[in-house]
């Protein structure tokens, strides 16, 4: 690869991509939360007849009639879907599917009827031509700015203003429409306002950048935000960041990746398509590495929990062995521990190494035995265990042969304060229901 040839045009493409993506991503957050993510897909297909009719009526490809026609049909999509769902009692997603495919079919036939004179091309609508947007400029305060940047930028401003002004109303009607209605916010008004805004955004964006980018940017930034946070305001911010990143990475990918493919015949590819792919890659990253809901972090959390449980089980087992042998220091070898606690070789190694590193157990030729610090902790665990057994037997009447298992689960989740409260509640007995001694508390 002989260096990347980045020009002003490329910068403008990224800027236009970002503005369109952010304009779609902001209201898209609410669609994700309202379980209406497919609305973007539906509207961007359904507006085809609106475009065709606007063209048939006005006979020109001027922007305003097209925009108006498409926006009207976009809102109608939401209205028809609601009707079919309510009147016909058809499930919501199915009625959405019925409406948008029918409108798309109608649009294709209308286009075919106008086809004599027009170059109104469904492919253009589908793929868009974001690569061409920097060529079509208008003067703004003495600058030559791409028209698409102005259109999508204003749409972004409108959306941001709408969200700021109606933040509370949108939030409450998205999460709890009934509550919204009882406190005097019209949930259905907010619904149709949002739908109208989405329709306008979708139309403005795909006229300049193509519908594929629109469909992706309606849902993916919001979904990434949803995976990373529980706060709506932060989710909105994340969606804007994702929009910016996918615009930049997507265009970079479109011009930098194809030359790397062996064969040498590839120069570049569709920027809009690559922006969607970049957004998808960011989503995969969020799914894998998200701090709270990510697959990896949840896996790590579970692993750490199971290791801690195994650690405590080993300490308690060593302490009980000492108790049986009358308080003399005893050692258990690793194989014995593995078998008794049903641990695998890897986890037993990890747990024992961890315990030894913190000087809770020591290893010698005979195996593992408790250190003084380890003995203190182990005694505490066994104390908790036996307190729970007493409590369960006395107050919950758990049969004596089931005490051990229940107490085993509870002991891992009991902290010092709970242990103290427990001990006070049952009157600090000396023996547990099975007649074993409850070790004294740490002082």
């Amino acid at each position: 690869m002989n260096g990347l040839n980045w020009t002003d045009t490329d910068t403008w493409i990224v800027v236009v991509g970002f503005l369109a993506a952010a304009a779609c991503g902001l209201p898209g957050c609410y669609l994700v939360l309202r379980r209406m993510s497919l609305m973007g897909d539906a509207i961007s297909h359904a507006v085809l007849p609106g475009l065709a009719i606007a063209f048939l009526v006005t006979g020109s490809r001027a922007s305003w009639p097209m925009f108006l026609g498409a926006a009207v049909v976009g809102v109608l999509t939401a209205v028809f879907t609601q009707w079919i769902e309510k009147i016909g009692r058809v499930e919501a997603t199915a009625s959405l599917g019925i409406v948008f495919t029918s409108l798309f079919a109608l649009g294709l036939i209308l286009l075919r009827m106008t086809a004599d004179a027009v170059d109104l091309d469904p492919d253009c609508v589908l793929y868009g031509a974001i690569e061409l947007t920097p060529l079509d400029t208008i003067a703004l305060w003495g600058w030559d700015v791409p028209r698409a940047a102005v259109v999508n930028g204003s749409m972004l401003l409108v959306n941001a203003a709408f969200i700021v002004v109606f933040y509370k109303e949108l939030k409450i009607s998205s999460f709890d429409p009934q509550l919204a209605t009882t406190v005097g916010v019209s949930a259905s008004f907010m619904h149709y306002a949002l739908m109208g805004l989405i329709a306008a955004t979708v139309v403005a964006a795909f006229e300049s950048v193509g519908s594929i980018l629109v469909i992706a940017m309606i849902v993916v930034p919001g979904a990434v935000g949803h995976l990373l946070t529980d706060r709506l305001s932060i989710m909105l911010l994340i969606s804007v960041v994702v929009a910016a990143l996918s615009a930049a990475l997507g265009h970079l990918g479109a011009i930098a990746l194809p030359p790397l493919i062996p064969g040498g015949e590839f120069i570049d590819t569709s920027t809009a398509g690559m922006m969607a792919v970049a957004a998808g890659a960011l989503l995969v990253l969020a799914v894998a590495a998200g701090p709270r809901y990510g697959v990896v972090s949840r896996w790590i959390g579970r692993l750490r929990l199971s290791l801690r449980v195994a650690e405590q089980d080993i300490l308690a087992m060593l302490w009980r062995t000492e108790e049986w042998s009358g308080g003399a220091q005893t050692s258990l070898n690793r194989k014995h521990i593995m078998e008794a606690l049903a641990l695998g070789p890897w986890s037993s190694w990890a747990v024992l190494t961890g315990l030894a590193r913190r000087a809770l157990v020591r290893q010698d030729a005979a195996g593992f035995s408790l250190t003084r610090a380890g003995r203190d902790q182990a005694r505490d665990l066994v104390r908790t265990h036996r307190l729970w057994e007493t409590y369960l037997a006395r107050y919950l009447h758990v049969p004596i042969d089931q005490l051990h298992l229940s107490a085993e689960r509870l002991e891992h989740a009991t902290d010092e304060r709970l242990q103290k409260a427990l001990s006070e509640k049952i009157g600090s007995p000396r023996l547990d229901p099975q007649g074993k001694q409850i070790p004294p508390a740490r002082d």
Binding site: R35, Y127, V220, G263
Partner: protein, 452 residues
């Protein structure tokens, strides 16, 4: 740039009679194969779609169909890179099918392992994979071997200009899909309604699920050729949704959906065969949409007209029973004939509504007009009114004696339930309350508007 297919041909052309007959009776071998293929495809889509609709996964096919695009693009590039012909149909369809299955796994994975809901998962998979497909098509534009012109047919379909061999592929695969659905009908039904039960009965639920998904992918991939990737979704959703208005039986619903699908396929293929410039896919879909609209209105299970009619009937019956009871109660307190002014005070009805009710009651022979301002129950009306009043009071007494509700509060509850007490329930009430059969007991509470 990316403008691949320009529809800048010419407007619609009407066929002459000779052409009309030729296509309608399928005299051409080519037309015959195309029409048959698309009809059977409609049938298969209707049956498969029935299961998907009932599982509330109707739009899964949308994700599948969009996801086939990168499969087609990748297959084209690989076949071209290995020196073959990029447009070999089998290879392209194989690529499409593999990506369709991949899309289903992605949707299932996203909904199962993340907190994203199914609609979001669908939208993500659909848009990202479609974007990937567009990127592949962009790469193909760079290739020496030729442009992607042949590939865009998969987005819009091209039944009208289909080769016999392609139509044969559609026909055979659609037949196979329809056959598999028929053979596994019972199993699919079970998986559709009660997965847990199916599993306890020992059915391999996971495998059956997979087979059903493969059927969906099959219909979608085969349908790409005929109607294009966006409209094939409609063939899977609209006929089943229309069929749902006609029946509550799954087997009948599948039959009706298959029939509607076949009819739309037949009409779409013939019409577009007749008018050279009418695209097949949209005609198929709009035919199906039209039939959906008809079913929505007329369907005799859940159709709107039937439901509205049932509602109107109910409102009328309740109104009539209210009138009869009001008149009976007034008669008990000595008004005979009954002045309309007194009747007005019994309930919160408008004078117009009351007049209408009285007119209808006169037509039924329940009421006769004595003068301009007063009416009287006929013999027949008295009997009917006695039944209603008895139901009302039985329920009131039941509430007072068995539910410990104060006599002043039972009237309203009984008012709601008197219309729906069946003969068996009335009999049991009579036995429980030890009330004389077939006579209205006296009211357990003072009647509104009685004392004057």
């Amino acid at each position: 740039m990316m403008t691949i297919l320009a529809i800048a041909d010419h407007g619609l052309q009407w066929p002459d009679a000779e052409q009309f007959l030729r296509v309608l009776l399928m005299r051409d071998y080519n037309t015959r194969v195309v029409v048959l293929g698309v009809s059977v495809l409609g049938l298969a889509a209707g049956v498969v779609g029935t299961f998907m609709l009932l599982r509330r996964q109707a739009l899964l096919s949308d994700a599948v169909s969009h996801a086939t695009l990168p499969g087609i693009g990748l297959a084209f590039m690989l076949m071209a890179a290995w020196g073959g012909d990029g447009r070999t149909l089998g290879g392209l369809l194989l690529g499409a099918a593999l990506f369709g299955v991949l899309a289903i796994f992605c949707v299932i994975g996203l909904t199962r392992y993340t907190r994203l809901k199914d609609d979001t998962a669908l939208a993500i998979v659909l848009s990202v994979l479609f974007g990937l497909g567009i990127a592949f098509l962009g790469l193909i534009q760079n290739m020496q071997e030729g442009n992607a012109a042949g590939l865009s047919q998969f987005i819009y379909g091209k039944a009208a200009s289909m080769l016999a061999v392609e139509a044969n592929t559609i026909f055979v695969s659609a037949c196979v899909i329809a056959l598999v659905c028929t053979l596994l009908f019972k199993e699919f039904t079970l998986v559709c309604f009660d997965q847990g039960f199916a599993a306890t009965q020992g059915w391999p639920v996971g495998w059956l699920d997979l087979v059903l998904m493969v059927m969906v992918v099959g219909v979608t991939v085969v349908g790409l050729q005929a109607v294009g990737l966006i409209l094939v979704v409609a063939m899977l959703i609209i006929p089943p949704a229309a069929a749902r208005f006609w029946t509550d039986h799954l087997s009948r619903m599948a039959l009706i959906a298959g029939g509607l699908g076949a009819v739309s396929g037949y009409l779409g293929a013939t019409l577009s065969g007749l008018m050279t410039n009418l695209p097949t896919g949209p005609v198929i879909v709009l035919t199906a949409t039209f039939m959906f609209g008809v079913s929505l209105l007329l369907g005799w299970r859940r159709g709107v007209i039937r439901r509205v009619a049932a509602h109107v009937r109910l409102v009328r019956r309740v109104g009539m029973q209210h009138l009869l009871r009001a008149m009976y109660e007034l008669r008990e307190s000595g008004d005979d004939p009954i002045r309309i002014g007194r009747l007005m005070m019994k309930r919160s009805w408008s004078i117009r509504r009351l007049k209408r009710l009285l007119k209808r009651a006169q037509r039924c022979g329940h009421v006769q007009a004595v003068s301009d301002q007063s009416v009287r129950l006929t013999e027949q009306g008295l009997a009917a009114a006695a039944t209603v009043v008895r139901n009302h009071r039985l329920w009131e007494i039941y509430l007072i004696t068995h539910a410990d509700i104060a006599p002043s509060h039972v009237d309203r509850d009984a008012d709601a339930i008197e219309h729906v007490l069946g003969a068996e329930l009335v009999e049991r009430l009579e036995r429980t309350l030890a009330v004389e059969p077939s006579r209205a007991p006296p009211s357990p509470h003072p009647l509104a508007g009685a004392a004057s």
